[in-house]
Symmetry: D2
Subunit: 221 residues, 4 copies
């Protein structure tokens, strides 16, 4: 796994949910192009709502960090999300016929509420590591899906743009950095044998639950 | 409405979701006795998981309160939940053939995660009023369902015990007190014309979203 | 140390601040009776403000706990503080000529703000262990002072009541239970060699800073 | 007041503490050049520790915001603090003979603990407005001091650089924007007559307490 050691272990501890998420019918439908357009647009709208809370969760990372380096890494992500990715998302939606007002007005679906509030609550009730463990499945899952679909997807799938975004060098680099942030944060707090501690099990559970909620996120309502 | 002014207004502002929740097929199935036993037991298990987080949310109320009276009211609820209601729940489940270990080991369903984390996150990110607005649909909805079903339910429904718990004088009194707590907390912060403020709209939204998540809670998986 | 293993180690890691706190001139003045009454009354008023936030901090423990046993232990403390200790405090102050309204109206001194907000922020930003490490110096420090002064204090010191409260069997038992709660919470998360982890150092720092702030609390303004 | 309506009212409600803070002997000593260098350096070191928590508090603003505009304003501040102001601070300290390691290693003084934890706890326990009311005295107080001292200070005071930083167009503009952010946030939640609500009083209190803690911050230890 190029996204770090902790991610590799957490992923390996929940193979079923991880496959349900990253090899979901929705994902396979993007790969072979069979995913109905309307379903993709519903997903895009909920994903916009998700990004708002995802930005808030990374900002909570700044609050919960122990070092300036951790603060800076989280702040850079918030900045990139709010000033870059969300504007991109708004433009993609506009091109797909969804105006910005519709994004703001859209009701959050249950799956969106479940996933976003789970991550934020994990961050509030736990510490920096709990927050990162809940954030990891989203970051790295999309990187893994993008990388796989860049190879496997039908050449003419209409979802090529989406795939390239997450397969692209920039997103892949971001995820390697997030992986390194997590590994350093774990080592800094729990030492070199972190995975032998009971604490590891609860982090692993946070990751697994977030993965389950990611799987449920693809198709809602 | 005997459960306070704020509750009455919030409830009146989301008639559709409120009916979906309090007149859900699951509820009607308890009333006429047609609800399959297995479905009720699944609900009981998730409701146990819910009570854990519900207790945590009321404890967050103690942290977020402004006055000793507010702190005491929230603390009394936490105490009653942890020392009374949860023990009762464990006994009811045991009688129904679900041992305590099964309750602890049960995986939280998506709807349980969605509802409980929404309430806790509302409390963490907002203030005392946001927390109370998110808690109210659960407290008062069960009181309203209990009171209605005590009159309407088939005499021989096997769910008579559940109905009597929430129709009972003690639970009804608790909900009148929660209603009074909310009204006093609103007046203390927002004054006598609270419902004319933009702040009221966001509280009303918190209540409506929690109500939607209550409706989804009855039947999961 | 009869107040648990973690407490013993944390205390042993900051001998200077611990002595500054538990052997403060204010404490010695209670022992030999030389402490001016007015200074004691100022302390009592600030201690009342402290108890409000101390109750909130223990309630945050309920929110941050991982198990029902941890939730119950914290909730019992909140309940005891709000329904017992604070009423006792109000009565003692009334006997000393400070009416309840004066307690509520008193401005929080800088040292009170520093200590209470440090504990609450440690709990919010960290996890359950960070909160307990910040709470421990208050609980156990008073127990240690009480036990020592019960033996060493002048027989006729006018502060005999204060001393007996904290030397008494009930308070001592409470602190042994808090010590056991901490040790179990540490073992449950960090395993049997918790003190070898980097995480231990940051917990130890939380304890040391809280101890420093306790020392500054005795005499303010 | 060019820093907004809410700030003007909050400031006007605590004239004594505001004068204690902005016309503190330390400030006057920078104006006439009589402030001992060593005292200024002690202040700089504590101010560095303060900036770390100040950045965390603005990040909490992103988490607690209601709109994208609010999130972006807070995130821009975090970004500017972490990527600009703190680096500048480190350089100024280095020029003054305080290496970066000394800044990181410095123990937080009681006044630094009191002020930073008060702000963060206000943000955690309250809502977005509570956080802003606690942050405002720092932002705007420095702007006011800078603007006044740019006119009044002795031409040859060695603290001319410090004065110019806060009197400068960039910092003044930032504070006008923070003032506008606060006014918009108040109007968005509490409507056009916010200052007639009981909620206003508690915000005003948050501001006044933060102002008191700012005054105590200048000279510590």
């Amino acid at each position: 796994m190029s996204y770090g050691k902790a991610f590799g272990l957490w992923r390996g501890a929940c193979p079923g949910p991880w496959a349900d998420y990253t090899r979901h019918a929705f994902v396979q439908g993007m790969a072979d192009g069979s995913l109905p357009r309307a379903q993709f647009l519903d997903y895009l709208v909920q994903d916009y709502r998700f990004l708002v809370h995802f930005s808030r969760a990374w900002a909570l990372g700044v609050v919960k960090a122990d070092t300036l380096a951790e603060m800076r890494a989280c702040s850079a992500t918030v900045h990139a999300l709010l000033e870059g990715e969300m504007a991109l998302h708004v433009r993609l939606c506009a091109e797909a016929g969804i105006p910005a007002e519709a994004l703001e007005a859209a009701q959050e679906a249950t799956g969106t509420l479940a996933y976003t509030r789970f991550v934020l609550e994990a961050g509030y009730s736990g510490d920096f590591l709990d927050l990162l463990a809940a954030l990891a499945p989203c970051c790295m899952g999309y990187a893994e899906i993008g990388a796989r679909l860049a190879v496997e997807a039908a050449p003419d799938t209409p979802y090529r743009d989406w795939i390239e975004t997450y397969a692209g060098a920039e997103y892949q680099q971001t995820c390697r950095e997030v992986g390194a942030l997590i590994d350093a944060a774990v080592a800094r707090r729990l030492g070199p044998a972190a995975e032998t501690l009971p604490r590891w099990h609860s982090l692993s559970q946070r990751f697994a639950t977030a993965t389950r909620l990611e799987a449920a996120f693809w198709v809602q309502g």
